[in-house]
């Protein structure tokens, strides 16, 4: 079989720590991770049931997250328990932005690019179906998968809307906003190395412009003192630190240092001519840290 196209990532040699390990991780398929839906079942009960069916699961820290080490089916969703909404297939790295937002019961949250609903359903689980989440996606077809996941998991505190996150008004302000922005998706490489497309320089710049527009619109909808989590599943600083720098310098947001219980590194300090002063408040998750995909996260407060 053809080698996966690793050359694409050479450009990141200077910014990704333990780069050889990173490249090695890209040559292995990403394992499935799952999150137990504690709105419907206790963690121990589900784990017991799946193990009885031949699953081998590895719990991660104190989270209700498990790496699927072995399974008796081709796809981890081919079980009765999945159909009953007892768990959700979600990469551990994709849980990080939700943990960074620290959702609480009664919160009013906007999820600006929500489909297919991994983070929306995790927010709802942590909020115990209270408060409210406005889950938006610009792509009407993708709303179907969002709605399907919300229904399967028994989520009842979500309002789904279909707006352009760059320009549309949502009509109200929010205490917390999750902007998990559409991106070049480099962090998902291990899921499908041969289908991976990534982006060229021009593509990263175009995406960064779109992300900055979304950021600007997010700030419009954030209450004073509110918290915004910006995340992508890509590595390029234009789509990450550069967007955060824009939010700090141009939109007046303040970077906030948060800790998350998933191994990570700080952000990139320099990329080409660009310097990123707030790199210490940024979070990067790489696949060679705990066998996940890649993720970038920054927490920003409105002064």
């Amino acid at each position: 079989m053809e080698e996966p196209p690793l050359k694409y990532f050479e450009v990141y040699r200077s910014i990704i720590p333990r780069f050889e390990d990173f490249l090695m991780s890209l040559q292995t398929m990403q394992p499935y991770w799952m999150r137990v839906n504690t709105l419907k079942i206790e963690e121990e009960k589900l784990v017991g049931r799946l193990e009885k069916k031949g699953f081998v699961l590895e719990k991660f820290g104190e989270l209700n997250a498990y790496k699927i080490v072995e399974m008796p089916v081709k796809h981890p969703g081919a079980t009765i328990e999945y159909s009953l909404g007892y768990y959700y297939i979600q990469d551990l790295a994709s849980m990080a932005p939700v943990l960074a937002l620290q959702p609480e019961e009664g919160d009013i949250i906007l999820d600006m690019a929500a489909a297919p609903g991994s983070k929306t359903t995790m927010l709802a689980e942590l909020m115990r179906n209270t408060g409210v989440i406005v889950a938006n996606d610009a792509n009407f077809r993708r709303l179907k998968s969002l709605a399907g996941n919300i229904e399967r998991l028994g989520i009842t505190n979500v309002i789904i809307v279909n707006r352009d996150a760059r320009t549309s008004s949502f009509g109200v302000k929010f205490k917390k906003i999750l902007l998990d922005a559409p991106c070049s998706g480099e962090g998902t490489f291990r899921k499908n190395p041969w289908g991976f497309r990534g982006a060229d320089e021009r593509g990263h710049r175009y995406l960064a412009e779109q992300q900055k527009m979304m950021m600007r619109n997010a700030v419009r909808h954030l209450e004073d003192g509110g918290i915004l989590v910006y995340s992508t599943c890509t590595y390029h600083p234009y789509e990450n630190e550069d967007v955060v720098k824009y939010a700090v310098k141009e939109l007046g947001l303040k970077p906030v240092e948060v800790d998350i219980p998933i191994p990570h590194t700080e952000g990139v300090k320099r990329w080409g001519e660009e310097e990123y002063e707030m790199h210490r408040e940024c979070i990067r998750i790489y696949p060679h840290l705990v066998d996940t995909g890649g993720m970038f996260i920054a927490v920003l407060a409105k002064k």
Binding site: I80, V132, N157, I160
Partner: protein, 146 residues
């Protein structure tokens, strides 16, 4: 089309399934066309909502509860529910009709019932002497599943 708040739909679940009213008070009910949605969140003034909460009922000659919402509230039911043993639960999940023992039949009123198996709330069935599975095709047990 607008969602119109009609919390009187709570009574359906109280009367049909004996679910305590205080449980149903967790939800507001919203009608749009033939569908009724249950929502446990804070109400916001937002225009052009696509979905509000979870689909709870479909209006027709009689109200038909959704499997998705019954899976949320079904554990609180005190009447018109059926508890199936494991092998019959699998048949029900495949969409097959189930013969019920006479002792169970006596406890049920004709119409929609909640179908459980131990602690699992499987979804909505229809009882007319036999138990018909109303599990939506997307939730039906496939041969490749475990």
């Amino acid at each position: 089309m607008q969602f119109l708040q009609k919390n009187e739909y709570r009574n359906y679940f109280v009367q049909r399934f004996g679910i305590p009213y205080e449980i149903m008070e967790r939800y507001t009910f919203w009608e749009r066309g033939r569908k009724v949605w249950a929502f446990s969140g804070i109400t916001l003034e937002i225009e052009r909502m696509e979905i509000l909460g979870i689909k709870a009922l479909t209006k027709g000659k009689a109200l038909k509860p959704s499997t998705a919402f019954l899976r949320v509230i079904g554990k609180y039911a005190s009447k018109n529910f059926v508890n199936l043993e494991a092998s019959k639960a699998l048949k029900f999940l495949r969409g097959e009709e189930i013969e019920l023992p006479p002792t169970l039949v006596k406890q049920l009123e004709m119409g929609y019932v909640i179908v459980k198996s131990d602690e699992d709330i499987l979804g909505c069935g229809f009882f007319d002497g036999k138990l018909k599975s109303l599990i939506p095709s997307k939730y039906r047990l496939q041969d490749t599943w475990v």
